[in-house]
């Protein structure tokens, strides 16, 4: 008996040690950049960040870098990022929920085929369609005179389209678990599909909608490529500005560090506040690229 207890204690201790090592490795890179962003510029460039970590009391801590970063464009980029992200999260959610309703509760020819195409599309790299979409928009601009590139709206549309396969997949999987009798009963009572969708199915699908919304929010917020191509420099989002900062050598690590953390604050809040939904979404198969 004591032998088993001894073993268990060792196991627990070993696991604890293993986890601590892993967590230290996982956190060190981030911690380094965070500390650098909080040091005065006179120190950040001439002494390593861990000196501040080991002498936290004798170090000067300052938010100067954040102030600099915000006033030199990061605040504008923050607003641009919000303007891109929120509609690009809500729009696909609406469109996908409707489509998922059709896939779950309605019968039509070629349903299986459509669905297989959708699943296959989850894997296709988005690079494979971006150039034609960009050129198509430029052509439309010349032909009709309405500018599309360089606007938020083009990013909303492109993000919505790329979100479709995954969003429909997750929402359909969730709707499959709803009791069909309920929907049949409503139909017997004379409710139209439109009413059933808005009043019955959508309200009870909130957990799945939330999972996908968080997933899409983080994806769009963190996206560089689509924002770079379709929104561009005029309304530079944070990933765009951060990449430019990173590319300018001699800029000093402190400003890059502050910029990084400004871009991280909102996703981290969303992430930690709604982690439960996010994990649920991951388990339902929400991964895209």
């Amino acid at each position: 008996m004591s032998k088993i207890l001894h073993l268990l204690r060792n196991l627990k201790l070993g696991s604890l040690l293993g986890m601590i090592i892993l967590v230290v490795i996982w956190s060190t890179p981030t911690l380094g950049l965070l500390i650098t962003s909080l040091r005065p510029s006179s120190l950040a460039d001439i002494s390593p960040w861990w000196e501040a970590l080991f002498n936290p009391l004798s170090t000067l801590w300052t938010l100067d870098a954040y102030q600099n970063s915000l006033s030199s464009g990061m605040l504008d980029s923050l607003i641009n990022t919000i303007a891109v992200t929120i509609p690009a999260t809500i729009l696909p959610l609406m469109i996908a929920a409707n489509a998922a309703y059709a896939f779950t509760f309605l019968n039509f020819k070629g349903k299986e085929f459509f669905f297989a195409v959708l699943v296959a599309l989850m894997v296709i790299p988005l690079q494979s369609s971006l150039i034609p979409v960009l050129r198509g928009m430029v052509w439309f601009q010349k032909a009709v005179g309405i500018p599309l590139t360089g606007t938020y709206a083009s990013a909303w549309v492109v993000h919505s389209a790329f979100a479709m396969p995954l969003a429909i997949y997750i929402l359909r999987n969730y709707m499959m678990t709803l009791p069909r009798e309920l929907i049949e009963a409503a139909k017997v009572d004379g409710a139209s599909n439109y009413q059933i969708f808005w009043q019955l199915v959508l309200p009870v699908s909130v957990p799945a909608l939330a999972s996908f919304a968080i997933f899409q929010f983080l994806w769009v917020w963190n996206d560089y490529l689509i924002a770079f191509i379709f929104v561009g420099e005029q309304k530079a989002v944070m990933t765009y500005r951060l990449l430019r900062l990173l590319g300018q050598y001699g800029q000093g690590w402190r400003d890059v560090a502050a910029g990084s953390f400004i871009s991280l604050i909102i996703p981290l809040i969303v992430f930690f506040a709604l982690q439960r939904y996010f994990v649920r979404g991951l388990l339902a198969g929400s991964v895209k690229g």
């Binding site: 489509a99 059709a102 599909n193 917020w221 951060l242 991280l264 992430f271």
Partner: protein, 326 residues
Amino acid sequence: MGDIFLGLFAIVIGVAASYGLYWLLNFIISLLPERLRKKSDWLAFLTPAVVLVILVLIAPLFQTIGWSFMDDGAKNWVGLKNYIDLFTDQRFLQILLNNFLWVLVVPAITVVVGTAAAALSNQVGPKLESIFKSLIFMPMAVSFVAASTIWSYFYAYVPPGRPEVGVLNAVVRLLGFPPQPWLTIDQGHLNSFLLMAVIVWLQVGYAMVVISSGIKAVPEETIEAAQLDGANPWQIFASVILPQVWGTVMSVFVTVLILVMKIFDIVLAMTRGNFNTSVLAFEWYKQFFENSNVGPASAVVTVLVILIVPLMWLQIQTVRQQELLR
């Protein structure tokens, strides 16, 4: 500030418009005679999604494949020239090799570390478990660009005579070796491996969370039975737990594999594809945005799509299996 209002305005308009659009579609369908209406009710729900997917995903995909047989300006047909150029170019073969290395290394390491983290965290008690897991999971919220910043700093190299700021070089110096500009060293593809570490860092949390939920679903009785048989913890893990979560582990493996095939942002942000670190998706970016070569860029991305098609098949199989289990 005007942009915030524009954004809010757009949200309200967008929601109202899409609500109105679906209302209109349903209204049109409801005007049809009953028999036709029953047959076409799905159109009102599916049409917007289908139009969007065809316009922005499917039609452009075929356009890209078409352009891959055309010249730089996508004006004249050149047959297989782009592909022949690619596969006779030593640099492109190196790019393919790099992609191959990413695919070989990253999914395997991610899954192994993720499984280890899931198994270990299962032993430390619920409170510590949730703290540890959150810390390892946190990078999932970080953009590829910010992750590249974090790791570029970790690998940072400063000219001799100045104090180290990069952790890696500080450790190297502590061990008595000279600091190195790590990201420029392509001997044995060292710098590519350093870039891979970033994506492992980003994805292990995902692997851990999914595999951990699999481990928690393993029936207690099977573990207790093995304990009674005198199996040690490692034996229990290897012969009782692992076989039961194997399906989950493989699905994580495939997901990370697909992600890694398309890896792009990290290469762009950390080395801009220099020092022999380029990969297919980055080469596409370079061909189009730096050289404006539509044909060759399309050929590069078509190669990527062709390499991904087998994975697509795998994905459909996985989904089909899940459907059967339902």
